[in-house]
Structure formats: C-alpha cells, structure tokens
C-alpha cells in the first residue's frame, strides 16, 4: 500500500517536473516576444520622439506624458520604448560575439583534446578566475563610450562559459561511430568538424546563446549605469544613469523614472533566462 502510494507520488512528481521547463519556456518566450515587438514597432508605439524636448522638465505623469518627463523635458515613456532597441540589440549582438568565440574555442579544444585543447582550456580557466566586473569596467573605461565598444567588451568577456559547455559536448561527439567512420575513411578534419560535429552542437549552442543574451543585457545595463554606455543611444541602463545623477530616486519621481526601466531590464533578462532554462532542461534534465 505504502509502496504503491509512494510510486504514485513519484510518478506525479515526474509529470509535474516535465511541465516546469515547458512552463518556463512559454513564459520566457512570451516576455521576449512582447519586448521584441515593442522594440521593432517603437516608432509607432512611442507617443513622442525620445530625442525631442517636448515638455517642461521633471513633469509628473499625466495623460499627455504617461510616465512624465526627464531632466531636459523628454518624454520618459518614449525613451523607454526606444531604449528597448538599444538594450536588446546590444544584448543579442554581444551574445552572438560570445557564441562565435565560444563555439570556435569549444569545438577546436574538444576536437583536439590533447595538447592544443588542454592549453586552450587552461586559458579559459584563467579567464573565468579573473574578477569579472572590475575587468569589464577597466576595459570599457579604456576603450571609451560607444555602442560598438560596449558590445565588444561584453562579448569578449562572456564566451568562456559557452566554450566550456560546447567543448564537453564535442569531446563526447568525437568518439561517436559516425565520426570515427568519417575519419577512418580519410575525411579531412575540417570536413568532419563542419559536417558532423558543429551541427550536433547546435541545440547546446542555442541554449548558451540565449543564456548569454540574458547576462549581456544585465551587463550592458550595469555599464551604462556607471556612465560607460553610449552617450547618444540611450538604453534602459542609461535612463537609470540619468535618473541616478539627477537624484530621481530620492524624490517621488522614482515611481515613474526609476521603477519602469529597471523592471524592463529585469523582464528582458528574465525572459531570456527562462528560455535558456527550459532549453537546458531538455538537453540535460536537472530540475
């Protein structure tokens, strides 16, 4: 009896467990979908041009300016809608840069595991030990403030984790029968890698990519908040930088100037993180 009930409970748990990734994935997809639509259709959605001074500065929310205006009289809601473009673009491109480096290093290190691979992975370990945020800030400070620099700095610092994950997959792929068969028939390494290895890391790489977008969005926000973002293209992080330097969080204005952009950053990062979570669970169930 007891055993029966336990088994029944275990089965129920297993079923529920398998639902969690789907639930997470759908929620994440919905969030990301809405934000991306907002970014794409920004010119139609935003009531004003975010670069124009359309009203008096420091206005409280009203029917004309739903989230008030900033210190130079720009419409905050419009700034946030257009900010989606900057934040999401930087996040996605920086993650793509990271994925490109990470996949290359991971595939090469996994395919030649002896000397080359072990040297490369030692290098990856060193990068993972370096104090991440201070290094990011130092690099950004030297390179200067521009969209491209932000993307590069983030991209070249977050590829190590994807490289590790992809390498371990390649390590196991390279001893599969079809790979061995291809090699024993004299296929050149490059062909084997491109034909048999890389396509099979695609799912894992997608997971790493989505997770990288999630962290890149947060890193961009942090850099912009420290005043290291592009001074012209305002992201959500830059809006918060100005809110901080104008002391908005010390006044009632925090409710419309500080709360919404942070919430958007969080939602964007969370949306991608949830998708990554559900992908990772599918590949390597852990929940």
């Amino acid at each position: 009896m007891v055993a029966d009930r336990r088994e029944e409970a275990a089965r129920r748990t297993a079923r529920r467990r398998s639902r969690i990734p789907t639930l997470f994935g759908l929620t994440g997809g919905l969030i990301v979908g809405i934000l991306v639509c907002g970014a794409v259709f920004a010119p139609w959605l935003a009531p004003y041009d975010p670069t124009e001074r359309v009203a008096r500065p420091f206005l409280s929310p009203s029917s004309e300016h739903l989230l008030g205006t900033n210190d130079i009289g720009q419409d905050l809601l419009s700034e946030m809608i257009f900010g989606a473009r900057v934040s999401l673009t930087i996040g996605i491109i920086a993650a793509a840069v990271a994925l490109l480096i990470g996949t290359t290093v991971g595939v090469v290190a996994g395919y030649y595991p002896k000397r080359l691979g072990s040297v490369m992975m030692r290098g990856v370990d060193v990068i993972l030990i370096l104090p991440f945020l201070p290094l990011l800030i130092v690099l950004a400070a030297y390179l200067g403030r521009s969209l491209l620099n932000t993307i590069l700095v983030i991209g070249v610092l977050i590829w190590a984790e994807p490289a590790r994950i992809i390498r371990s997959q390649v390590l196991s792929l390279r001893s599969r029968e079809y790979v061995l068969a291809a090699r024993s028939m004299g296929a050149p390494d490059r062909w084997t890698i491109l034909r048999h290895i890389v396509p099979r890391t695609a799912l894992l790489a997608t997971g790493s990519f989505v997770r990288a977008v999630s962290s890149a969005i947060l890193l961009e926000a942090a850099l912009s908040f420290l005043g290291l973002g592009d001074p012209i293209q305002k992201s959500w992080g830059s809006i918060l930088f100005w809110a901080q330097s104008r002391g908005a969080f010390l006044t009632p204005a925090w409710k419309w100037w500080v709360l919404p952009p942070g919430l958007l950053i969080m939602l964007a990062s969370l949306g991608f993180a949830l998708i990554a979570f559900s992908l990772e669970e599918r590949i390597n169930p852990r929940l």
């Binding site: 030990i129 370096l130 991440f132 945020l133 201070p134 901080q244 010390l250 969080m266």
Partner: protein, 324 residues
C-alpha cells in the same frame, strides 16, 4: 567540483597574476591616442616639447617596452602603485582606507546569503517538484535577473526616502561626533541597505548549488540504504544528506566572496559607500587610470585568495578528495 591545491592549480594562479598585471601594463600603452594622457595624467596639448620630453623620461616611457615591463613588475612587487592623478595621494593609502568598508559589507552579506541560500535550497530539494519548490526556484531565477544597482536604488527609495527609517548613503553620519554604542549603531544602520542588497543578489547562487547538490545526494545509493534500514526522515536529512552536500556549497561560498567583492563597484556606487568599489567608480568617472588599475589588481588578489581558501578547505570537508 572537487578541488585540491596541486601544482596545476598553483601554476594556474600564477598565470592569472601574470595576465592581470600584463593587461594593466599593456592597456594604457595600446590604446589609441598619446599614452602620456593615460600614464602620466597630463594634458598633452598644453605642454611644450621640452616639458613633454621631461615627463616621458620621468615616467620611463622612453625606455624599450621590455624594460618598462620589468620596471612595472618591480613597482608592483614592492607595493608601489604610484600616485592618484586626481588627489596626488599614494594609491596604496587610498586602497587601505577603503578596504575595511568593503570587507565589512561583503563579509556580512556572505553570511546572510549563505544561511538563506542553504536553508531555502535544502527545503526546495527536499520538496522537489512541489509548489514550494517551483515558487522558490522561479523567485531565485527572477532575482538573478535583477539589475543590481536598480535593486539598491529601489531599497533607497522605499526605506530611506519613502519611510525614512534608514540612511541612504555613506558609511557613517558625516561630522556627527557620535561615540561608543551610538557610533556602532550608526555604522550598522548605514550598512543595512547595502548588505541587504548584496545578500539578496548573492542568495540565488548559493540556493542553486545547494538545491542541485542535494538532489544529487538524494539519488545516491547510501541514502536509499539509510531509508531502507529504517532511518527517520530527520536522521536521513541531517545525518546523511546534509553532511554530504555541504562541501560543494562551501566551495561556492568561497568563490562567491571573490565575485561579491567585484560586485561592490556597483552597489557601493549606488549607496555612495566609501569602499573599494566606489573608489573604482570615482576613478573611472575621473579618468584616474592608475587608481583604477591598482583596484583591479586588488580585486584579482581577492579572487585568488578566496580560490585558495576553497582549495584548502575542500579536502577538510570532503574526505573523499584526500585519497589519491
């Protein structure tokens, strides 16, 4: 994630130090523009050629690169980080002044997040698949997506401005003349919000490790054996599961500390807290490059020390690593 201090690890740490120092050396010299601006902190345009040559000779920029590099190493080994561009003070003094504050808030937040993460992670794993587990898991994933500075700003808006119960910035009330217990309370009340922010942000990492590592332990054969011989739930949890779960968690905690240190750049900026992180922010916004570099080396040292602690602690906690 078993760890041990061996020759390989020691080499690795050596390489990290070399990479950090070399980065510091090369960055200002590789950047476009005149390196004098970055290394001597002078406005090149305002100098006569003679003055310029004099400064180049003084900071050693006329020597061959390898000589400059050796000299740079010599300075670092002897603890000479140079002078700040802005305040002209020795950088070592500035760092020593700031370090205790950063140690205070990171240390406290480590304790808070460790306790919270371990307890919540254990409950979550024990109740795997239930509503409580799902709720905690989603909560932790959401926290990981919080922009750290934004959380700090919100806490200030709510607790310091809206309710006015805690101070919003600095580590002590300026020129308050407080002494004794009043002074201690002053320090504590100023630390509460930064520590709360850091703790909230650090909890998910501990929680995830605890939950995962406990789920792994729960699946082990010896747990089934313990259950089969009739050990009570409580005995299984504390006697068998907890003891075997704690090692990876301690490692993660030690490593977290190194990273929490780096995270203070943002949190201390939000709270105008006079620690090392705030120093980095001030250096970055004032283009005070030598201060920025020195702080980067201190952060690197912090990460290495915590890694070393993790290596040394692990065999003590997990006897399985001692053999071989």
């Amino acid at each position: 994630m078993r760890r041990r201090l061996d020759a390989r690890r020691i080499t690795q740490y050596g390489v990290v130090v070399v990479v950090a120092v070399t980065l510091n050396f090369l960055l200002p010299r590789l950047m476009p523009g005149n390196p004098l601006v970055l290394i001597a902190g002078v406005d090149v345009g305002l100098l006569s050629p003679d003055e310029r040559a004099e400064i180049v000779a003084r900071v050693g920029l006329d020597a061959p690169l390898w000589k400059q590099y050796l000299r740079y190493w010599g300075d670092i080994v002897t603890g000479d980080f140079g002078y700040s561009f802005r305040s002209s003070r020795p950088i070592v003094d500035m760092i020593m002044e700031r370090l205790p504050w950063t140690l205070l808030i990171t240390g406290l937040s480590l304790i808070v997040s460790a306790v919270a993460g371990v307890i919540l992670g254990a409950i979550s794993a024990w109740r795997r698949g239930t509503k409580a587990d799902l709720g905690m898991l989603s909560g932790m994933i959401s926290i990981e997506s919080l922009p750290s500075f934004w959380l700090g700003m919100l806490l200030i808006s709510v607790f310091a401005i809206q309710w006015g119960v805690l101070p919003s910035s600095h580590a002590v009330t300026p020129a308050s003349g407080l002494e004794g217990w009043a002074h201690t309370w002053d320090i504590i009340s100023h630390a509460i919000l930064p520590v709360a922010t850091l703790s909230i942000l650090a909890t998910p990492g501990v929680y995830m490790t605890m939950r995962y590592s406990m789920l792994e332990t729960l699946g082990e054969d010896y747990i089934r054996t313990a259950r089969a011989k009739g050990a009570g739930e409580r005995r299984v949890l504390f006697g068998h599961v907890a003891r075997n779960t704690i090692a990876p968690v301690v490692t993660v905690l030690a490593l977290r500390l190194g990273f929490a240190f780096g995270g203070t750049v943002i949190i201390e900026t939000v709270f105008t807290y006079p620690g090392l992180g705030r120093l980095v922010f001030e250096a970055v916004s004032g283009r005070d490059y030598p201060v920025m570099q020195a702080a980067f080396l201190v952060f690197t040292a912090a990460v290495l020390v915590t890694n070393l602690v993790a290596d040394l602690l692990y065999p003590l906690i997990d006897p399985r690593t001692r053999t071989s």
